[in-house]
Amino acid sequence: MTAALRSTDIVMEEKQDKGIVLTEAQKRARRSRSIAIALSLAALVILFYVYTLIKGPIVLVRPI
C-alpha cells in the first residue's frame, strides 16, 4: 500500500516537473504576440530616435 502511494507521488512529481506544456495553437498565438510586441517596441525606439534627431538639444524644452 505504502509502496503504491510512493509510486503515485513520484508520477505526480514528474508531471509537475514538466510545468505547463503549451499546445501548438498556444505556441503559435504566443509567437504572434511576441512579434507584435517586438515590432511595437522597435517602432517606439525609432520614433524617439527620430524625434531626438529633429529636435536636437532642445528635445527636453517643451511648451507647457
Binding site: 498556444q26 498565438a29 504572434s32 504576440r33 507584435a36 520614433l47 524625434y51 507647457i64
Partner: protein, 315 residues
C-alpha cells in the same frame, strides 16, 4: 451560502465568467480588434483635420506623433470599452464575435492592454507634443470609458447623446497639438460632431432594437419608442446642419466648404424627414440615414482639410 444574492445580476467584466488563468490563445490580430480600428480611423481623420486647419506650423514628425498618440489613445478607450462591456457584447449579434465575449482574449488581458496603451499615449503626447493636447486626450479616454461606458450606457437613453462628446474631442486634440491652446474654431468642430452623433447612432439603434433589448441597453427607441426617436433624430439633424455651415459663416472655411455643407446638409435633412415620416418600421430609411451620416461628416471634414490644410483658402 452564496455571497451573491440569488437573482442579482452581475454587470460588466465580472459577469463574463472568465476562465481561470491558463496560457492565452489570443493572437496579435485579436488585440488589434480590441482597438476598434474602424472607429479609430474616423477619430484619426477628424484629429488630422483639427491639426491641419490650426494656424501655425508643426513639424511633420511632431504631427505624426500627435496622430499616432490619438490613434493609440482611441484604441485604448476601445479596448477598455470591450473589457467592461463584454457581458453586453456577448448578448448582441453584432458584437458577440468580439475578442472578449468569444473567449479569445481574457477580460484581464483586455484591461491591462487598454490601461497600458492609454498611459503610453497620454505620456508620449505630453512629452513629445504638448501638455494641453495630452490633457484633452486623457479626458477623452476618461469620458469614453468612465462617463459613457461604465455610467451612462446602462443607465439612460441619453447615453449616446452625452457620451457622443468623447467622439467629438479629437479635432480639439489636433488643434491643441499645433497651437498649444483652444479657440472657437475647434469648439465648432466639436459641436458639429457632438450634435451629429445622436441621429447617426439612433439610426443604427432603430435597425438593431432587438439586439439592444436582448442586451438590456436602454437605447432611445426601446425607452421612448420609435416615433419619439425618429422625431428627435430629425431635431438633432436640424441643429447639426446649420452648425455644419458655421465654419464657412464665421469665415474659417471657403466657398467650397460652404457649398458642400449646404448640399450635403439638405440631403441629410431630407433623409431625416423620411425617417420621421415613415409609417412602417423605418429600417430602410434608417439604414440610408446611418450610411449617409458617415459620408456627411467625412466629406465635411475632408473638404475642410483640402481647403485649409492642403490648399489654403479656396473661394
Amino acid at each position: 451560502m452564496s455571497l451573491i444574492t440569488e437573482g442579482a445580476e452581475l454587470q460588466g467584466p465580472l459577469a463574463t465568467g472568465a476562465r481561470l488563468a491558463e496560457p492565452s490563445l489570443a493572437e496579435a490580430r485579436d488585440y488589434f480588434a480590441l482597438l476598434k480600428p474602424r472607429v479609430m480611423s474616423l477619430v484619426v481623420f477628424t484629429a488630422l483635420t483639427g491639426l491641419a486647419v490650426a494656424p501655425g506650423a508643426i513639424h511633420p514628425v511632431t504631427g505624426f506623433t500627435a496622430l499616432l498618440c490619438v490613434a493609440v489613445g482611441a484604441g485604448a478607450a476601445g479596448a477598455l470599452n470591450m473589457w467592461y462591456d463584454a457581458d453586453i457584447d456577448a448578448r448582441m449579434i453584432r458584437t458577440a464575435r468580439r475578442p472578449v465575449p468569444s473567449g479569445r482574449v481574457q477580460p484581464g488581458e483586455a484591461l491591462a492592454f487598454g490601461l497600458t496603451l492609454a498611459g503610453f499615449s497620454v505620456v508620449v503626447l505630453g512629452l513629445l507634443v504638448n501638455v494641453l493636447a495630452a490633457a484633452v486626450l486623457a479626458f477623452t479616454i476618461f469620458f469614453y470609458v468612465v462617463i459613457y461606458t461604465i455610467w451612462l450606457k446602462r443607465s439612460t437613453p441619453q447615453n449616446i447623446v452625452i457620451g457622443g462628446a468623447a467622439g467629438a474631442f479629437p479635432p480639439m486634440i489636433g488643434w491643441a497639438a499645433v497651437t498649444g491652446s483652444l479657440s472657437l474654431e475647434p469648439i465648432l468642430l466639436f459641436l458639429i460632431i457632438f450634435f451629429w452623433t445622436p441621429a447617426h447612432f439612433w439610426a443604427l439603434a432603430l435597425c438593431r432594437s432587438e439586439d439592444y433589448a436582448r442586451a438590456g441597453v436602454p437605447m432611445m427607441p426601446l425607452v421612448k419608442g420609435e416615433a419619439s426617436t425618429r422625431r428627435q433624430m430629425l431635431l438633432y439633424t436640424l441643429v447639426t446642419v446649420p452648425l455644419g455651415l458655421t465654419p464657412w459663416l464665421f469665415g474659417y472655411a471657403g466657398l467650397l466648404y460652404g457649398a458642400t455643407a449646404g448640399i450635403l446638409g439638405a440631403a441629410m435633412v431630407a433623409l431625416a424627414f423620411r425617417v420621421d415620416r415613415e409609417r412602417l418600421p423605418a429600417e430602410r430609411a434608417s439604414r440610408q440615414l446611418f450610411s449617409f451620416s458617415i459620408l456627411y461628416l467625412f466629406l465635411l471634414f475632408a473638404v475642410l482639410l483640402v481647403e485649409r490644410g492642403f490648399g489654403g483658402m479656396i473661394g
